[in-house]
């Protein structure tokens, strides 16, 4: 419950950053998908029910600020969470490099899911072209954002809660924070 209370406001802060602070600083309407990074992190560290519910809720929140298709990002983020959660059982979840790898896979999966959901259920228009043209810069931007978030999280943990154990951050200080 405590962790849920952390994830949800964090998701909201990420959304506000994504919609207001980051767009004027980045060209061509690109912005890092911070919510996707959060959902990948949830997939590595949370259970199916709590993580799934949180991912869907965060996706629905994103839908209010993105496009005009309610439930689209809810569905995409839920599927991304389930895919990461399924893969996490077979991987070493304490490796920060894994998070970066999964963020890359998550970016591609989310783009494919958005295309599927719009192509089969709604009028996608030229969206497939927009996504295909922008997938590589988006992937690089998401990776950069994930690296920066890992560094920031490791620094915050060392600064404010040096004795606590944040899931998925073991070893991050050695790789990214120092």
């Amino acid at each position: 419950m405590t962790r849920t209370l952390v994830y949800f406001p964090l998701g909201f802060i990420f959304l506000v950053l994504q919609t207001t602070l980051l767009p004027p600083m980045l060209p061509l309407h690109f912005k890092p998908d911070l919510l996707l990074i959060l959902v990948v992190y949830l997939g590595l560290n949370e259970g199916y029910v709590r993580g799934g519910a949180l991912s869907y809720l965060l996706g629905c929140l994103q839908d209010v600020f993105a496009a005009g298709y309610p439930g689209l990002h809810g569905l995409a983020l839920l599927c991304t969470f389930l895919a990461v959660r399924g893969a996490a059982a077979r991987l070493n979840t304490e490796s920060p490099v894994l998070l970066l790898l999964l963020v890359s896979a998550g970016t591609l999966l989310q783009a494919a899911l958005v295309l599927f959901a719009l192509g089969f259920f709604a009028e996608a228009g030229a969206l497939w072209m927009i996504i295909l043209k922008g997938i590589l810069p988006q992937l690089l931007l998401n990776l950069l954002a994930a690296c920066l978030l890992l560094r920031a999280a490791a620094w915050l943990q060392r600064r404010f809660a040096p004795r606590s154990r944040v899931p998925g951050l073991r070893g991050v200080g050695r790789h990214y924070g120092s």
Binding site: V16, P70, G125
Partner: protein
């Protein structure tokens, strides 16, 4: 049976969750033209936060742009550039009015153009995703802004309102993949549909025998009932040869600089 369910509990749970999300998404698509309670509540709650963050973002972006040295123009150059844009926009509108007058005079049914009622609004946030082109404005139902209303700036068409809460609305930009605006070539009156392509527009369904050249101005045709007639959409930047197809492939550069949208006008009533 129970053992089978227990064995495949996780995949079954995941499948049920996906199916439920898919059904919810599919059901909500029918009401996508209206703003639901969840959207209204979230937009209402976040309006003050985003308004404040927008001011902060302006400051941060200013520092960032100066740091990058992208905008090294002096205030005088910026003022003259803005005036130039305004005058060009007036010229386009005057040309459109002149052509319309000629046609109507010939038909002896001249009717004077009346200006629409408009509400000025500030852009306070951009789309949360890189794939879509929407913006949030700081005006909503309490200002008379509702779904379907056209949004413009001096240079031309911006888009239309797709969601409206009490004090905040979401605008679908003309460059979004799902946006379609009925337009015509100002010089030849060739008709078509302007569809969003991300950063550019395409002018679809223009017949291959129509005369369209690079530099031609595309204006709204008024068909469809959303946008008033004669608003600038963009300029033809590339025309591919007709070939054996029925339609020509035309690329249009939007008249509006969507990267620097700050203030917009929401037209509350269509101009006749």
């Amino acid at each position: 049976m129970l053992e089978l369910l227990r064995k495949y509990r996780t995949p079954l749970l995941a499948g049920c969750l996906i199916l439920a999300a898919l059904l919810l998404y599919s059901a909500q698509l029918r009401q996508r033209e209206t703003t639901n309670v969840f959207e209204r509540t979230v937009l209402g709650l976040t309006a003050p936060v985003q308004g404040g963050m927008d001011i902060l973002a302006d400051g941060v972006a200013g520092v960032w742009n100066r740091f990058l040295g992208i905008f090294g123009n002096s205030p005088e150059v910026l003022r003259l550039s803005a005036e130039n844009r305004r005058l060009r926009s007036e010229l386009v509108q005057l040309t459109e009015v002149r052509l319309e007058n000629e046609r109507l005079s010939r038909l002896l049914a001249f009717r004077e153009e009346t200006e629409s009622q408009a509400v000025p609004a500030r852009v306070i946030a951009e789309d949360a995703s890189s794939w879509f082109r929407t913006v949030l404005i700081d005006r909503g139902r309490q200002d008379g802004v509702h779904e379907g209303m056209p949004v413009v700036v001096a240079e031309g068409v911006v888009g239309r309102v797709i969601k409206s809460a009490a004090s905040e609305s979401k605008v679908l930009l003309a460059t979004d993949g799902s946006s379609a605006i009925a337009g015509l070539v100002q010089r030849t009156r060739a008709r078509g549909i302007c569809r969003g392509q991300g950063n550019l527009l395409s002018f679809d369904f223009a017949m291959h025998w129509e005369e369209i050249e690079e530099g031609d101005l595309i204006v709204t045709s008024g068909a469809g009932g959303v946008f008033p007639k004669g608003l600038t959409v963009g300029t033809v930047s590339r025309v591919s040869p007709g070939g054996f197809g029925l339609f020509r492939s035309v690329e249009v550069t939007p008249a509006v600089d969507f990267y620097r949208l700050e203030e917009v006008l929401v037209l509350l009533k269509e101009r006749r």
